[in-house]
Each structure stands twice: as C-alpha cells, then as structure tokens.
C-alpha cells in the first residue's frame, strides 16, 4: 500500500468517527463517548497529515505548523474549560467564527499558491465560495459574540436604507466573483474578502438578541459549507464529508429553531424582530387590571399540597443563577412524594437546547427534562405550573391573539395547569417585549423578586411545613 493510500484510509476512518459522534448524540448516554471517538479521529487525521506529500515534497515549515497548533491549543483549552455555562453560546459563536476564518484563509492561500498554474474556472469558483462564506461566518460570528457578550446592544441595529445597502454589498460581491472568475485577478480577491467581511457584519446587525441562537446555528452551517468548499479546492474527501455534515446539521437545526418560534427563517433574518415592538409594547397597559401576588410561603403551601408539579424554566433562571436552588426544591418536593418534572421550550435560553445544559450543570437528571409536546399533554393534569424566569414561551397570546408578534409560536401550556405560579423580577414584559395575559389570570400567583432568593425562601418554607 502506498503512503498516500494509507493516509486516505486514515482519513476515511476519521470521517467515520465524525458520523459515529453525531449518531452518539441520539442519546445522552452515548453522547460523551461519541465526542471522544470523534476527537480521537480528528487527532488521527491531523497526525496523518504531517506525513502527506504536497507538490511532490514532504511538508515544509513543520516547526511553524507545530508552533501554530501549540499557540491555538494553549489559548483554546483554558477558555473552553473555564467559561461559565451561561456564556456557552458566545463561546460556540467564537469557535465557529475562527473556523470560518480558517476556511477563508485556506481558500485564499490555495488560490495564491495555484494561481501561476492558471487553475480551471471551477477551481476558482470553489475558492471564491470558500472565501465568501468563510469570511461572512467569521465577521458574522464576531458580531453575534459581541451581542451575546453584551459588548454591544442586543437590540436589532437598524438604520435608514439598511436593506438597500445590504443589497448593494451583496450584489457587489456577486459581481466581483464573476469578474474574478473571468480574469483571475488576485487584487480583486482581496476586495472580495473585505466586502465579505462587511457583508457578515451587515447581515447580523439587524438581528435581535432573542434570535441570535438561530443565527449561530446558521453561521455554524456556513462554516461547514466553507470547509466543504475548501475540501473541493484541496481535493480532500475528509474536508468535504466533515464540512457537509456540519452544513446539513446546521441548516436542519436552524429550520427546527425557526419552527419552534413559529416564524420563517427569512422572518428571523430580515425582519429586525423586536425593534418596533419594544417601542410600543414597553408601555405597560394602564387599564388598572390587578394581578394576584403572593409570598414565598404561599408558594410553599401550594406546592406542598400538590401531587404533580411542572417547572417551566426560562433564561431568567440562569441569569439569577437559580438552577441549583431550583433542583433542591424539586428534590425536597419529590421527597414528599410529589411528582416533579421540567418542561423545556426548544428556544428557552440563548441557543438551541441551552436550558437543558444549564439544568444538567445543576445535576438535574435528564429523565426529568421533558420536551414541549410531551410536557403539554401532561400539563392538563398538573396541579401547579411553576414558571421561573420564562415569559414569552408560556404566553397564550401566541395561540389566540392574531395581532401578537409571537402569534403562531408553539408554547408550553402553563395555562392548562390548575394553578400557575410566576417567579418574576418585575412586571416588565419579556425579551420580545410583549404583554402576557396569563399574568392577569385569576389562577395565577405572582411572586416578585430575584428568582434565586425567592426559591431559597420557598425551599426553607417547604422544608418547615
């Protein structure tokens, strides 16, 4: 067997491990092992690459390569290990962005490298796609990171003529691509790079904080596609398979996420959702309707005399760092023979499935986490729906108010439970800035205050009773 065949065989093994890893994610039990398998496959592929011949010689600059890997690893490991779980979305955004940047760089360098050989038009096209998509992913992820990290406003950034300017930039990029295809000019490639960079920023600016999870998922798909494009240019099946897998998964997830919000993808990306609503919705209605508010002790009594409690957590819980106390409460209630589970809305948190990770971190067993549909069928027989730090995901307006911006979004039917308890910081509407009718329902009990403080008091009161 020749050296090249052996390396290709190793690449095949690596590609297989990636599939095994994704398949492992079908259940929490095998997921971690799958990830380890993929990491080993990746290591194998990287090591094998050092033995490859390029342009008929063995790799040059081996020490420089090793230095680059060393620098990357020294930065990545501590960051990945020690960042808080609530900050996970921005971390994924940044790792995604650097991947897109790497793909763009690989494509450009390859173009510079092979230019003297006058590559075929389709090769140039692959390069240009790699540069365009990779760079958009890079700069877009950077802005998404800034929004999530609150380095800039999470609100949609809009300015007059925005759509037109974006359109011009987009069309400009296309014209450039065609021109480069025709004359193979390298200077124009750098202009395309700059334009793609601007395009990524312009694309992400008008997307509101609540929609950023969908966006990250899409940018993840972009990076995957950019990697696949580089794979075409370099003639590497491994890169094509891995890139395409990620592209497919990202696009699928993006569609699932938009569906979970009851909106189309184009609505998420282009409508600057939340910019006009917040202007009108923030003015609370002054029609003097009263809400029923209670104390932690009231809640403790209500919970203690229930037989089935459904907890509906939202991002507000994570902000208050109340996950551990919440889990303690659930355990105390279970100790009293009360059935407790968590109903998780698909878009609760700041990325798909984020709430599950946050609860898992607080040692909540995953059997207790129920998906929306399953939870809804059980809520009818629940005595208490305990809503902690969530708002829009339980807002009945999504079902019956056609004028509501969130109309059509599937919700968790907290309103079906016998009693509803809301732990809220204030009467302020949620992230999307929409009034919630459920707060005024006679069966709803509100407790204002920091979720963690309130929960701590409730736990004490339940224990005492």
């Amino acid at each position: 067997m020749s050296r090249e065949t052996l390396i290709d065989l190793i690449y095949l093994i690596s590609a297989t491990t990636f599939l095994v890893a994704l398949k492992g994610l079908g259940s929490p039990k095998h997921a971690r092992r799958g990830n380890m398998v993929a990491a080993s496959g990746m290591l194998l592929a990287v090591v094998a690459t050092f033995f490859k011949y390029v342009d008929g010689h063995s790799l040059h600059h081996v020490w420089l390569i090793l230095l680059g890997i060393f620098i990357g690893a020294v930065v990545a490991v501590p960051v990945a290990r020690f960042v808080k779980m609530t900050a996970m979305p921005q971390l994924v955004a940044i790792f995604n962005g650097v991947g897109g940047g790497a793909a763009a760089l690989v494509s450009i360098t390859e173009f510079v490298h092979i230019k003297s050989t006058h590559p075929a038009t389709y090769v140039t096209l692959e390069v240009l796609l790699g540069v365009l998509i990779g760079t958009v992913s890079f700069s877009g992820s950077a802005i998404a990171f800034a929004k999530l990290q609150e380095l800039m406003t999470g609100r949609p950034v809009t300015y007059p003529g925005q759509q037109i300017i974006n359109g011009v930039v987009g069309v400009g990029a296309l014209v450039l691509i065609v021109t480069i295809l025709v004359n193979g000019s390298t200077p124009l490639l750098w202009i395309l790079l700059a334009l793609a960079f601007v395009l990524g920023i312009a694309f992400v600016l008008p997307i509101g904080g609540a929609d950023v999870p969908v966006l990250i998922s899409l940018l993840n798909a972009f990076t995957g596609l950019a990697v696949a494009a580089s794979g075409f240019t370099l003639g590497s099946n491994l890169l094509i398979v891995a890139g395409t897998l990620v592209g497919a998964s990202g696009i699928l997830l993006t569609r699932l996420m938009s569906a979970a919000m009851g909106r189309s993808l184009s609505n998420v990306l282009f409508s600057a959702f939340g910019s006009n609503i917040t202007a009108s919705g923030a003015t609370t209605r002054e029609d003097g309707r009263s809400v029923r508010s209670g104390t932690p002790e009231d809640i403790a009594v209500l919970l203690s005399y229930s037989s089935r409690v459904v907890i509906i957590p939202g991002y507000g819980l994570a902000v208050a760092q109340g996950q551990h106390v919440l889990r303690e409460l659930a355990e105390v209630l279970e100790g009293k023979g009360i059935e407790v589970f968590y109903a998780i809305h698909p878009v609760a948190g700041r990325m798909p499935g984020h709430m599950n990770v946050l609860l898992a971190e607080a040692n909540v067993p995953y059997e207790q986490l129920k998906e929306m549909d399953e939870a809804n069928s059980e809520l009818q027989t629940a005595d208490v729906a305990l809503v902690v730090g969530a708002n829009d995901t339980v807002n009945p307006a999504a079902m019956d108010d056609k004028t509501s911006p969130i109309y059509g979004m599937p919700i968790i039917r907290a309103d079906l439970a016998e009693n509803v308890i809301f732990l809220k910081r204030s009467m302020r509407p949620g992230f999307a800035g929409i009034e919630n009718e459920l707060l005024y329902n006679p069966k709803t009990l509100l407790v204002f205050g920091d979720a963690k403080d309130t929960l701590t008091k409730v736990v004490a009161a339940v224990k005492a009773s």
Partner: protein
C-alpha cells in the same frame, strides 16, 4: 471538469442525506451539544491549514497559512473540549430504583 469533481460531488450529495438522517434523530435536549460538537467537527479545516502551510512557497502564503493553523486549532480544540464539558454534565438519575411510569407512555 473531469471525473474527480464528479467523485467529490457524489461524496457531497451522499453526505447531505446521511447527515440529515442522523441529525434528525438527535433529541432537542441535546441540541446545544450537537451544535458545539458539529462546531468541533468543522475544525477539520486544521488539516487543510496544515497542508497549505506545508506547501507555502512565499512569505505571504506562510503568514496566511500560519494564521489558518492557529485559527483551525482554536476551533478544533476549543470545540471538542467545550462539547465534552457539556456532555459530562448530562447524568442519569443516580438511583435507578424507581422506574418512571410516564416514560412508558412515550
């Protein structure tokens, strides 16, 4: 165009179908690790980065390739470590004594 391109296109198309099939089966509870895990997988661009730096002839190619290796490593190492950290937390209930009745109904 040649057969090589066609061969790559075949791989591309088949992967789209296989990938979609596998990923559609991932439960929503694991969507964050899925995103993070697939994020790590596209870190395979590191292999491409190594190849272009290894083939670099000019200073420009070397600088770009070196940057690509750093970025690629950040992606792949960070991606796998974060995913592992997330998945580590997904634990089953410690006591398996009480099988839940409502799980059968699924």
């Amino acid at each position: 165009m040649g057969n090589v391109l066609l061969q790559y296109a075949t791989v591309l198309v088949l992967t789209i179908f296989v990938g979609t099939e596998i990923i559609a089966k991932v439960p929503s509870i694991l969507h964050t690790p899925l995103m993070s895990g697939s994020n790590a997988i596209h870190g395979v661009i590191l292999v491409g980065s190594i190849l272009i730096l290894g083939a670099a002839n000019t200073n420009l190619e070397m600088v770009l390739g070196f940057l690509a290796v750093i970025l690629g490593t950040l992606n792949v190492v960070g991606g796998f470590v974060v995913t592992d950290r997330m998945l580590e937390m997904f634990k089953a209930k410690p006591k398996t004594a009480k099988p839940k009745s409502d799980e059968v109904a699924e």
